[in-house]
Symmetry: C2
Subunit: 320 residues, 2 copies
């Protein structure tokens, strides 16, 4: 949950007056979203989400994120649609920070994940990957394999205080990942942060994908690997092969993946686990007293990493 920017009444009124959405009738901070400040905005014309972009998002990336949401929404992907002002712009300043209004999506993010959720997710991710193919903008993934070692160097000194032996574990795994990481795989726009709190469901059906602020160009199969980690482990960190099978088979019914992509999954899943292990470790060691963001436990991703280190091949994920 973000550090909230306090918006003055006059600033809000002026901001909303730039759009054709009527006057404000309610405005409340939402306790979701770690990177930005999100507000529920109700106006005479309906319900919206207003986002103020805080410092973890680079302003120069915002046209990519908003353009992508425009593109995907137009292609029928259930994602927030940026609302454009009378001047045509979806992005403007509020309280001296970049801000945008997007459509409100019905749905609730799932506190537990069932095999059915995983099947719905797989299908939606594949549809999103296909829909993104003709999106014309590009953004590099700044948390790819070559970013992991510098991140590790910045926090290795505290690693063994979190789990004894963690520094050596990460160092050895990084050596392996850097040596073995694929050179090329089919790529396109990926969401790159498809955790359950970014996916809404109603009555078992997926109704929304939100929070595109890590989206970038990267391998499709790497997104699948992130999803395997985020959706297919139980609360006790045991891997659930039925969920993985549902995710992968639903995905490939929409976008068949190649043998190369499939074979790379165990390695990509290790890499995806490493990426979140490192950012969580960094946030854990650099947590700020009094901040409103509660850092997530890095150990969860160490456990996931060890699982993927132990699999004999991609069939461990439920497909032949």
């Amino acid at each position: 949950m973000a550090v909230y920017t306090e918006v003055s009444d006059d600033d809000l009124e002026r901001f909303v007056a730039e759009y054709d959405i009527g006057k404000v009738t309610a405005f409340k901070g939402i306790a979701e979203g770690v990177e930005n400040s999100n507000y529920l905005l109700q106006t005479e014309s309906g319900t919206y989400i207003l986002t103020i972009y805080e410092k973890r998002v680079k302003p120069e990336d915002l046209p990519f994120f908003l353009g992508l949401m425009d593109h995907l929404a137009a292609a029928g992907i259930p994602c927030p649609t940026p609302i454009h002002g009378r001047d045509g712009d979806a992005l403007r300043m509020l309280s001296d920070k970049p801000a945008a209004i997007v459509s409100f999506l019905d749905g609730v993010w799932p506190k537990g994940r069932s095999p059915r959720h995983c099947a719905e997710l797989g299908e939606a991710v594949a549809r999103m990957h296909v829909a993104g193919v003709d999106f014309s903008m590009r953004r590099e993934n700044d948390l790819r394999v070559d970013a992991w070692r510098p991140l590790f160097e910045s926090c290795r000194a505290g690693a063994d205080d979190v789990v004894p032996g963690l520094e050596a574990d990460i160092a050895a795994e990084l050596d392996h990942l850097e040596r073995s990481w694929p050179k090329a795989l089919p790529e396109g726009v990926i969401h790159a942060d498809l955790f359950p709190d970014n996916v809404f469901f109603l009555g078992g059906r997926l109704t929304g994908i939100i929070d595109f602020y890590f989206a970038c160009n990267d391998w499709f199969a790497y997104e699948i690997a992130i999803c395997l980690n985020a959706w297919c482990f139980e609360p006790d960190h045991q891997f659930n092969i039925t969920k993985a099978k549902n995710l992968l088979s639903a995905y490939r019914r929409v976008r068949p993946f190649s043998e190369t992509e499939f074979s790379a999954l165990p390695l990509l899943a290790r890499g995806a686990a490493m990426r979140f292990l490192l950012t969580r470790l960094y946030d854990w060691l650099n947590r700020v007293d009094g901040a409103l963001v509660r850092p997530k436990d890095p150990v969860e991703y160490l456990t996931k990493l060890k699982f993927h280190q132990g699999v004999s091949g991609p069939s461990a994920y439920g497909l032949d």
Copy 2:
């Protein structure tokens, strides 16, 4: 902002099914309200607030709070109306904690307070006081004058670390307040926490009063004193007599207050400042690393206390 209780999808569905409000279409934590977890709940029939009562609210007080909102809403006070389930109850359990659904109020709490806000507030508070007269339940104020010294004793050791000399300042003021505190004044149900984030406005008109979880039986004039402190000081802690005059004169047009009440205002304002100084000091000294609640600055209320110590009489608040 509260420590949020995570509600499972099944629990939420079962809970909402006890009401005649249709199925859930959205559910989001709201980053407002310090004592409880508040969620925006949208269903097929509209928008509501769902509150889960966390440990700072005593379960045995909940029938008073919910009954009061029912009573005031029926009398036309713009406050949340508890939604009753098919069994007639407004209070039931969710995720092993007491919880209730109330109506959603339009409006935005004012980040700045204008003299007009203060006039609107004064009128609404007086109407609320009048409407509460025939409410049949009773709840003592557990933060009255006799509660201040034990609270002070629990945190006096750390006071001088916050502001040098604070311990002696509070001790002397407590002596004065205990000696001079009025024996009796006209009383009834008061809200007892009418800070700007608990009052909504739209287009300059007051549209809602929320968060009745400190409401209790106490002197009407003590509520006015709390409002003077919360609404009539500028961000630089200078007292604004125009705002105070607006608040008091709008109040007394609806409920004329007696000469005794008026004369007591400076003392009550000192007491009200002491009450919030002490609870803020306590929270400041007992803040928890990693908690989502950011404690409020106690020094603000020390400044307000000193202002009221220096006034020559109630005419300092703008009325003759």
